[in-house]
Amino acid sequence: MNFVLTKEQEFVRKMVRDFAKNEVEPIAAEIDREHRFPVENVAKMSKLGILGVPFPREYGGAGGDNISYAITIEELSRVCASTGTICAAHTSLCCWPIYSWGTEKQKKRYLPGLLAGGKLGAFGLTEPNAGTDAAGQQTKAEDKGSHWLLNGSKLFITNGGYADVYVIFAMTDRKKGSRGISAFIVEKGSEGFSIGKKEEKMGICASSTTELIFQNCRVPKENIIGDPGDGFKIAMSTLNGGRIGVASQALGIAQGAFDVTVAYMKGRKQFGKRLSQMEALQFDVANMRTQIEAARLMIYRAVDMKDRNLNYGPYSAMAKLFAAETAMYVTTKAVQLHGGYGYTKDYPVERMMRDAKITEIYEGTSEVQKIVIASAIFGK
């Protein structure tokens, strides 16, 4: 057992923390208020390798590991959960399936741009009537000999409208149910592909969440990922890893809320003493700190298993479940400890509490995580 980060991981934390402090934090409140996607920071992140942390150098990646990736998402989300989401959806949900399931040709064509070349990725699985229940896909892809023809729509797609490359799931053989789903790489600007409604959300307001519309969208034959029918497998394995991204995001939100709360309590005086000197409040902070630490250990454990190619699915589900609940608990407490000020937009905890909620919902709700965990105990 070794609970010490490697030198590389420590440097990644320092570097992303510096970047987040200087570039992300100063605009976090503003982009939340204005619902503005931070294109300028995404471009900087691409240049610095933040969008390609856990991929080999030969494809343009930074050559890092998944712990460094988790640290990256944590540090970004610590000051701005929207920015964390943008990076996590791009890395876990678009780059990863192309890297893990794509052909050499697909990897060479798409990864260099995505990992460090200024391009952004997205993932389209969810539909109005099919979230985690992916087998209910309505979007279909027909084999037209020379190309695939996509028709249908996708909902709640993170990075929608700003992404250049989309991993899209569609039915190629409805009779086969979930085994009839296939995955495709669709480029922005493809004929018949457009961006639909942009969602107005409670939190992560600076991230883009949109509908994707496919109307006779022609996708080149070679853009299928894996074989026809591999889609469900690809989606589920992608989400196993995606949970690490969301868990790290939840951890970052909790840590960020914790840090600003501790600083606030040291400064705020009531009844002749500082909040930090009041034992009842100290106990709240001790609980917050303990949960954060537990969440961090669970995440690193799941990630370490992933890096060792062990079956980490239930572990990433447990980490995501616990980290998301921690984010809600810690941010709610953080607002409480700030009192009236915490409820205003003058303090970041208000935004952090709104941002935390999504981590209990996307990439599998907490209930779905429990299904995953339970099925590892009782079988499917």
Binding site: M15, D18, A62, G63, S68
Partner: protein
């Protein structure tokens, strides 16, 4: 011909967090994070920008310090430097600025050949601003301190710099090889890249001791060879609160200010 740049850097305690031990009067370094000295980051950034402009440029970062100073060199490599050298030896411990510039000059001479040397104006722990200029003197090359802007011609021979003064700047033309010391206003240092981190942690950083540098531990480097002795360190008392002048109009405010300054014989 490769254009060779040497950057002198120092690992320093983050002064935002530093305190002085009230008994021993020395800096408390335990638990204080170490960082790349800010002005040195500007020096490195300028070297890296030249490297981006002229492909055939080689940037070497050198430092003197304990073995932990390697971490700072890794950071410099992860930012984009090509090579890093650490001068580290017990015999170098306790060196003042004179002894330090002896050691760094020896490192530079051992590296053999250079076209340009950058250093930060000063380090945030000692604040002397002496090491850069001393190195230039010892190497016998011209120097410009407090550089706030730097332009080099296409032949890489003539550099035009803006040298910051208290109330303006002067434009100085200088020929390579030379030493320039950088100030904060020169540029905005870049971040490490994630790829750079993974490449540089595993890279080989040369470490040279006093013997390898041909330095006399009694007369050139180390505590005994250092002419400077620190008599006392202390935390300066905070200045009292300033006076705020408020009056009905701007004119009245200015009048009050003038009267105040005159009664104190400032003007």
């Amino acid at each position: 011909m490769t254009f060779k740049i040497i950057v002198c850097a120092k690992q320093v305690p983050d002064t935002n967090e530093i305190k002085i031990d009230p008994v021993t009067k020395t800096l408390i370094r335990e638990g204080v994070p170490s960082i790349l000295n800010p002005d040195d980051a500007n020096a490195l950034e300028e070297a890296l920008r030249l490297k981006e402009q002229y492909a055939d440029t080689h940037v070497t970062v050198i430092t003197m310090g304990p073995p932990q100073a390697k971490d700072m060199l890794i950071e410099c490599l992860a930012m984009g430097a090509d090579e890093a050298v650490l001068a580290s030896d017990r015999a170098l411990g306790g060196s003042d600025t004179w002894a330090t510039s002896n050691a760094l000059s020896a490192v530079i001479e051992k590296l053999g050949g250079y076209d340009l040397i950058f250093a930060g104006r000063q380090a945030i722990d000692g604040d002397t601003a002496q090491v850069g200029p001393q190195i230039a003197e010892k190497l016998g090359i011209p120097q410009v301190t407090y550089v706030q802007e730097c332009k080099i011609d296409h032949e890489m021979k003539n550099i035009t710099v803006k040298r910051a003064l208290e109330d303006g700047y002067e434009v100085v033309k200088i020929k390579t090889p030379c030493m320039l010391t950088a100030i904060k206003g020169l540029n905005k240092p870049r971040y490490m890249s994630v790829r750079g981190i993974y490449e540089s942690v595993k890279s080989d950083i040369k470490t040279w001791g006093a013997k390898e540098l041909g330095l006399d531990a009694d007369r050139e480097v180390g505590l005994d060879a250092s002419p400077t002795n620190v008599y006392r360190s202390f935390t300066p008392l905070p200045k009292g609160k300033g006076t705020t002048i408020k009056a009905e109009s701007e004119k009245e405010t200015a009048q009050k200010l003038l009267v105040g300054l005159k009664t104190r014989h400032v003007i």
